[in-house]
C-alpha cells in the first residue's frame, strides 16, 4: 500500500539515488570519459605542489642561497667609503673575488675556462661547501689547495690530489665540490667553479689589467639585527657608488619570483593538457547524453520535470568529475615526487616534495568546474528532450537556443582567460594565450571540417569497398573526426613547437660555429703578450690576421645627463645601467662584416682634433636610451674624461662570432690608452682546440680561451635539460590526447558495433572490417599529425622571425618521426578496440551492445 506521506516532488536524495542507479551500466564508460581530465589535473597539481614545496624550501633555505646576511658586490674593488661601511657592519665578514680563468689539469693536460672564486674568511656563514672528502670544504682554505667542481673533475678524469694550474700557480685538488650556496647544476654546467684561498691569488698573476673580476663582501650578524631597516639605510649609498646589495630576504624574493614564473609556465602547459581533456569530456558527454535520450524521455513521460532530469545527469557528471579530479590530484601528488628529480639541475635549492593540500584542493575544484563547464552544453540539451521520444525517436532534442550555447561558450572562454590570468597575472598576455588557444582550436576544427567536406565532395566512388567505407566513416553521422583532430592535433602541435624552438636555438649557435666561422676566442691578452700569442697561434696552425684591442671605460654623461640627474628625473629615457656598466670598446678605421651603419656617418679616423671624436653606437643601445646622432657622450677612460659625439648608429649582428661592440671609436683616439687584446680564430677539431689551449695556457696562464665548440655543447646540454622539462609537459598533452583518443574510439566502438556486426553478418570478413578501421584511423592520425605539425611550424616561424630574429629551418627527421608515431598510435588504438569487436561472435556483441 502506498504510504501516507505525500510530498510535492522527489527529494534531492532521490535525484542522487536516481543518478547513481542510472549510472549502473555506464560507470566504467563515464569514468573513461572523465579520465581525459585526469592527466591535466595531475599536471597542474604536481606543478602547484612542487611550486608550494619549492616556495617553502626557498623560505627555509634562503640564507643558504646567499651564504651570509648581507652581500655587497660589484665589478670593481670596494672603494674606501664602501669598504669602511662593509667593515663596520656585522660580526663576521668574508670576501670573494670571482672571475673567469683557464684551469690547466696537469696530469691529463686538459685546459678549460672556469669560474674561479677566491675566498677569504669563513664563507659561507649559512650552508656549507659540500665536498668529497667532507673536510676539504674547510681545509683547502689553509693550504695551496682548491676545490674543483664535480663535473669539471669528471671531464678531465681528475681526482683529489691532482695538480691544477691557475695562472702562474699550481694548486693541489683538496676535494670535489658537490654543491655551494647559490650554485645549481645548470650554473655548474655553464661555468664550472673552482674555489681557491684568496691569499694565493696574487701569486697566480690573474688579477691584472682587463680582468673581469667581481668583488664581493659577505657579512654575517651574530647578534639580533633588523636587517631590513639596516639595508634601507645603506642601500642608496651602496647603489650610488655602483655596487649591488643582496640580502637573504631579497634573494628569497628574487629566487621565488624566478621559479614562480617557471611554475606558471609549466602550469600553462598543464592547462593546455587539461583543455585537451575537456574537449574529450565535452565530446564524450555529448555522445553519452545522446544515448540517454530514450531514458530521459521515459523519465519525462513518467512525470520528471526538465530540471529533475537535468539534475540527475548533473549529479552524475559532478560525481565522476570529482572522481576524475581526485584521481588526477592523487596522480599529481605522486608525480611531484618525481619532478624534483627531473628539475634537479635547474632548482636553486634541494626540494623535498611533500603533499600540498592546497594543490589537491585546487585540483579538485578545477576538475569539478571544468567537468561541469565542458559538459554544460550537452547537459543543458537535456532540458529540451521531449517525452515524445518514447513514442517516436525522431522527436529528438530540438536545436536549442543559440543564446544559451553562446553563453556557455563565453563562459568557457572566460574560464580559459581567467585561469591563464591567474597564472600570468597580466591581462594582455593572458588574452594572447586565450587567443592562441582559440586560434589553434579553430584551425584544427577548420581542418577537420575541411577534411569532411573534401572527402564527401571528392569521394572516390570507383575505389575498392573498404577504402570507400573507411573514408565515409570520416564524415558520416556520429563521426569522431572533429574531436580526434583537435585533441591529437593540439598535442602534436605543442610537442613539435618545443622541438622546433629547441632546433632554432641550437641552430643559432651552430650557424655561428659552422663552415669557416671563427670558433675560438682568446681574451685577456696583455699588450706585452700579444706578439707571442699570435706567434703561438700561427705555429699551432691557426689563421690569425691580428688581434682586436680593447679599452675599458665607463660612461659619465649623455649630453649633460648623468646618473644623478637620472635619479632625480624619472622621465628621462636613459636606464641606470647605461651609466653603471663597464664598456669594453675598440677602435678601428673600418667596419667589419657584422656591422652596418643605419644612421649618420662613420668616420674611420679622428682627424679634426679640435672636435670631439665621432663614435658609433649600437642602434639597440641608442634606441633603448634615447641617444641620437649629435649627442655628446662623455666617458671616463680609466680616470681620464673623454668627450665624444655620436656620429653614427650601427646595426650589429650579435650572433656572428666576431668581436662585436656597443661603442666603436675611430682610429687615432685610444691607441695610447691602457688596453688588452682579443684574438679570434678557428680550430678544426676538438683535439686541435685542446692542443692549442694547452700551448697558450702553458705559456701565458692568465689568458682565457673560449672554445665555441664547448659552448655549443653546454648550450645543447642546457637546452636539453630545459627542453626535457617542457617536452615532459608536452608529453602530458600528448598523453591526454591519447586518452581522449582511446575514449573517442571506445565511444565510436559502441556506436559502430551494430554496423560492424551487420557487415559481418552479411559476409564482410574480419580482415575487411579491420582494413576499414585502419583506413579511417590512418586518415585521422595523419591529418591530426599534419595539422599539428603545420600549426607548430606556423608558431615557430613567427617566433623565429619575430623573437629570435633568425630563419626558421625545421629539422625534418624528428618531424617525420612524430608524424609516423602519431599515425601508428592512432591506428594502433583504433585497431585494438576494433579487434575486440571482430574477434567475438556477432550475437554476443549484439547482446552486450544492447
Amino acid at each position: 500500500m502506498i504510504g501516507s506521506s505525500r510530498q510535492s516532488g522527489p527529494s534531492v536524495a532521490w535525484l542522487l539515488s536516481m543518478a547513481w542507479r542510472d549510472s549502473r551500466r555506464n560507470r566504467s564508460r563515464l569514468f573513461l570519459f572523465i579520465s581525459s581530465i585526469i592527466l591535466g589535473i595531475a599536471a597542474l597539481v604536481s606543478v602547484q605542489s612542487l611550486s608550494d614545496s619549492l616556495r617553502s624550501e626557498i623560505e627555509r633555505q634562503a640564507a643558504e642561497l646567499v651564504g651570509a646576511d648581507i652581500v655587497i658586490s660589484g665589478n670593481k674593488p670596494l672603494n674606501e667609503n664602501i669598504g669602511k661601511l662593509a667593515d663596520s657592519l656585522g660580526d663576521r665578514r668574508a670576501a670573494q673575488k670571482s672571475f673567469p680563468s683557464m684551469a690547466l689539469f696537469l696530469r691529463s693536460g686538459g685546459a678549460r675556462l672556469v669560474q674561479v672564486r677566491a675566498l677569504e674568511g669563513d664563507f659561507p656563514f649559512y650552508g656549507q661547501l659540500k665536498t668529497i672528502p667532507a673536510s676539504a670544504g674547510r681545509s683547502f682554505r689553509n693550504q695551496q689547495e682548491i676545490l674543483v667542481d664535480k663535473g669539471l673533475l669528471l671531464q678531465f678524469d681528475g681526482k683529489v690530489g691532482d695538480s691544477v694550474q691557475l695562472g702562474m700557480t699550481v694548486f693541489r685538488i683538496a676535494g670535489m665540490l658537490e654543491s655551494a650556496p647559490g650554485q645549481t647544476g645548470l650554473t655548474s654546467a655553464v661555468a664550472p667553479v673552482i674555489f681557491m684561498p684568496m691569499r694565493y691569488l696574487p701569486g697566480t698573476g690573474l688579477e691584472q689589467f682587463g680582468s673581469r673580476i667581481n668583488h664581493s663582501r659577505f657579512i654575517k650578524f651574530d647578534r639580533k639585527t633588523d636587517i631590513t631597516s639596516l639595508t634601507e639605510r645603506i642601500e642608496d649609498r651602496i647603489e650610488e657608488a655602483g655596487y649591488e646589495l643582496t640580502t637573504i630576504e631579497r634573494q628569497q624574493e628574487q629566487t621565488s619570483r624566478s621559479f614562480r614564473d617557471v611554475g606558471r609556465f609549466l602550469s600553462l602547459i598543464g592547462f593546455v593538457a587539461l583543455l585537451l581533456g575537456c574537449i574529450g569530456v565535452a565530446s564524450a558527454i555529448h555522445v553519452y547524453i545522446r544515448e540517454k535520450i530514450g531514458t530521459i524521455a521515459i523519465l519525462r513521460c513518467l512525470g520528471a520535470t526538465s530540471r529533475q532530469a537535468f539534475l540527475i545527469y548533473l549529479f552524475q557528471i559532478l560525481a565522476f568529475g570529482g572522481l576524475g579530479s581526485l584521481a588526477g590530484s592523487v596522480l599529481g601528488s605522486a608525480l611531484q615526487f618525481y619532478l624534483p628529480v627531473l628539475l634537479k639541475d635547474i632548482l636553486p635549492v634541494s626540494v623535498e616534495a611533500r603533499i600540498s593540500w592546497q594543490a589537491i584542493g585546487s585540483g579538485l575544484g578545477l576538475g569539478l568546474i571544468i567537468s561541469i563547464l565542458f559538459a554544460l552544453a550537452p547537459l543543458l540539451s537535456i532540458r529540451r528532450i521531449s517525452p515524445l521520444n518514447t513514442l517516436r525517436m525522431e522527436f529528438q532534442a530540438d536545436k536549442g537556443d543559440r543564446l544559451t550555447s553562446l553563453l556557455v561558450y563565453l563562459l568557457m572562454l572566460a574560464f580559459i582567460w581567467g585561469f591563464s590570468w591567474l597564472q600570468i597575472r597580466q591581462v594582455l598576455p593572458s588574452l594572447y594565450f586565450t587567443l592562441a588557444i582559440v586560434v589553434a582550436f579553430l584551425v584544427l576544427a577548420g581542418f577537420a571540417r575541411l577534411l569532411m567536406w573534401a572527402v564527401k565532395k571528392f569521394f572516390p566512388g570507383g575505389w575498392p569497398y573498404v577504402w570507400r567505407q573507411g573514408l565515409a566513416n570520416l564524415y558520416r553521422p556520429q563521426n569522431q573526426t572533429l574531436v580526434l583532430l583537435m585533441s591529437i592535433g593540439l598535442g602534436t602541435a605543442l610537442f613539435c613547437t618545443v622541438l622546433f624552438i629547441q632546433t632554432i636555438l641550437l641552430d643559432r649557435v651552430k650557424v655561428s660555429t659552422s663552415g669557416a666561422q671563427p670558433n675560438i676566442v682568446v681574451f685577456d691578452i696583455q699588450e706585452t703578450q700579444r706578439d707571442s700569442i699570435v706567434a703561438i697561434s700561427k705555429r699551432e696552425g691557426l689563421d690569425v690576421s691580428g688581434t682586436v684591442p680593447i679599452v675599458t671605460m665607463r660612461l659619465k654623461s649623455v649630453n649633460r645627463i648623468n646618473i644623478d640627474s637620472l635619479r632625480r628625473d624619472s622621465s628621462l629615457p636613459m636606464r641606470p645601467w647605461l651609466f653603471n656598466r663597464e664598456y669594453r670598446v675598440t677602435y678601428r678605421d673600418t667596419l667589419v662584416s657584422s656591422e652596418r651603419i643605419r644612421k649618420g656617418t662613420w668616420t674611420g679616423v679622428w682627424k679634426d682634433k679640435s672636435q670631439p671624436p665621432g663614435i658609433s653606437v649600437e642602434e639597440g643601445l641608442a634606441k633603448r636610451n634615447g641617444i641620437r646622432i649629435g649627442d655628446t657622450l662623455t666617458f671616463d677612460v680609466q680616470g681620464t674624461p673623454m668627450a665624444t659625439i655620436v656620429g653614427s648608429l650601427r646595426q650589429v649582428e650579435w650572433n656572428r662570432i666576431q668581436t662585436n661592440f656597443l661603442v666603436l671609436f675611430p682610429a687615432g683616439v685610444l691607441e695610447k690608452a691602457p688596453k688588452f687584446h682579443v684574438l679570434v680564430s678557428r680550430v678544426e677539431s676538438p683535439e686541435h682546440s685542446a692542443r692549442y689551449q694547452q700551448a697558450v695556457v702553458k705559456a701565458f696562464p692568465n689568458v682565457s680561451i673560449i672554445d665555441l665548440g664547448l659552448v655549443l655543447d653546454v648550450v645543447s646540454a642546457l637546452l636539453d635539460k630545459i627542453g626535457f622539462v617542457i617536452r615532459f609537459m608536452a608529453l602530458y598533452c600528448m598523453a591526454t590526447g591519447i586518452v581522449v583518443l582511446i575514449a573517442s574510439v571506445l565511444i565510436s566502438k559502441y556506436q559502430r558495433i551494430r554496423e560492424s556486426v551487420l557487415l559481418r553478418t552479411i559476409g564482410a570478413s574480419r580482415r575487411q572490417i579491420l582494413a576499414i578501421t585502419a583506413i579511417e584511423y590512418l586518415m585521422l592520425g595523419a591529418l591530426a599529425a599534419l595539422t599539428g605539425i603545420l600549426l607548430a611550424m606556423g608558431g615557430s616561424w613567427i617566433l623565429a622571425e619575430q623573437v629570435f630574429d633568425t630563419t626558421f629551418r625545421p629539422d625534418w627527421l624528428p618531424v617525420l618521426g612524430v608524424f609516423a608515431g602519431v599515425c601508428l598510435l592512432t591506428v594502433g588504438i583504433g585497431m585494438t578496440n576494433s579487434r575486440q569487436v571482430v574477434n567475438r561472435p556477432p550475437l554476443e556483441v549484439l547482446r552486450d551492445a544492447s
Binding site: 527529494s11 542507479r21 512525470g303 520535470t305
Partner: protein, 233 residues
C-alpha cells in the same frame, strides 16, 4: 459519469509554409471515466500523435484538450509532466523500461517522482499481480519481451492513474504473450477503475474495448461503441 478526457477541435501540424504538414485535423470527442477506448487506423493516420496529445506529451496546434478538467494546452512541459505523473499511466509498444533500473525500481519510479514514501510493498504487490515477484531484481535486459511488458504494466498502474494510455501494447509480442498482456491490462483496469485508451492495429484487441475511434488522414472517420459498451458520440 464524469468526463476524464475532452478534445475540442484539436489539430496538429508540423513545419511551416510549403512544408507544413497537418497530421491531425479538427478532432473532437469526450471520454468518460472508466471507459475503455481503442484508437485505430492505418499507419500515418495520426494515431500516435493523437495519443501523445491526449497524454500531454505534446501540445496541439489548435483546439483544446482537457484531462481531468485541466486544460493541457495552457501548461508548459514541466506542468504537463506533473499532470502525467499524477493522473496518467503509460504502456508502450517497446516497453520503455529504464534499462539501468531493476524491475522493482522501474515500478517504483512514478511513485518516487511524486515524492511518496514506503512504496516498496506496493510495487512488490504490483509485480506479484503481473506474476514477476521473483524477478524483481532483474534488469530489463535480463527479461523477455513479455516480461518487460508486464513490468511496464505494473509501472503504469503504480501511481494509481486515472487514465492509462497504451501504444500498441502487444505490437512486439507473440500471440501467447499478447493474450496474457491484454488480460492483465483489462483486469487491472477493471480492478482500479482506470480509463484505458489503447492505440492499436490489432482488431481483436480493439474489439475488447468499449469504443473504437477510427482515424484516417488525420481525421476521425468513425467513433463507434462496440458490443461491450454503448457508443457515446
Amino acid at each position: 459519469m464524469d468526463t476524464i478526457l475532452s478534445l475540442s477541435h484539436v489539430s496538429k501540424a508540423y513545419g511551416h509554409g510549403e512544408h507544413r504538414l497537418k497530421v491531425l485535423d479538427d478532432i473532437h470527442f469526450d471520454i468518460h471515466s472508466g471507459d475503455t477506448v481503442a484508437i485505430i487506423g492505418p499507419s500515418g493516420s495520426g494515431k500516435t500523435t493523437l495519443l501523445g496529445l491526449c497524454a500531454g506529451l505534446d501540445r496541439p496546434t489548435e483546439g483544446s484538450i482537457q484531462l481531468n478538467n485541466i486544460s493541457l494546452e495552457s501548461l508548459d512541459e514541466d506542468r504537463r509532466a506533473r499532470v502525467r505523473n499524477e493522473f496518467v499511466g503509460f504502456v508502450f509498444q517497446n516497453f520503455q523500461l529504464l534499462p539501468t533500473l531493476t524491475a522493482l525500481e522501474n515500478v517504483m519510479v512514478p511513485m518516487e517522482l511524486q515524492g511518496l514514501k514506503n512504496i516498496r510493498s506496493h510495487a512488490l504487490d504490483l509485480l506479484a499481480k503481473v506474476g514477476l515477484a521473483n524477478r524483481k531484481d532483474h534488469y530489463p535486459v535480463q527479461l523477455s519481451g513479455g516480461e518487460q511488458q508486464r513490468v511496464s504494466i505494473a509501472r503504469a498502474f503504480s501511481n494509481r492513474p486515472r487514465i492509462l494510455f497504451a501504444d500498441e501494447p502487444t505490437g512486439n509480442l507473440d500471440a501467447e504473450n499478447s493474450e496474457l498482456i491484454e488480460k492483465l491490462l483489462f483486469d487491472l483496469n477493471r480492478e482500479a477503475g482506470t480509463t484505458l485508451i489503447v492505440v492499436t492495429h490489432n482488431p481483436e484487441l480493439a474489439a475488447k474495448t468499449g469504443r473504437i475511434i477510427a482515424l484516417k488522414g488525420g481525421k476521425v472517420v468513425s467513433d463507434l461503441a462496440t458490443d461491450r459498451q454503448t457508443a457515446s458520440i
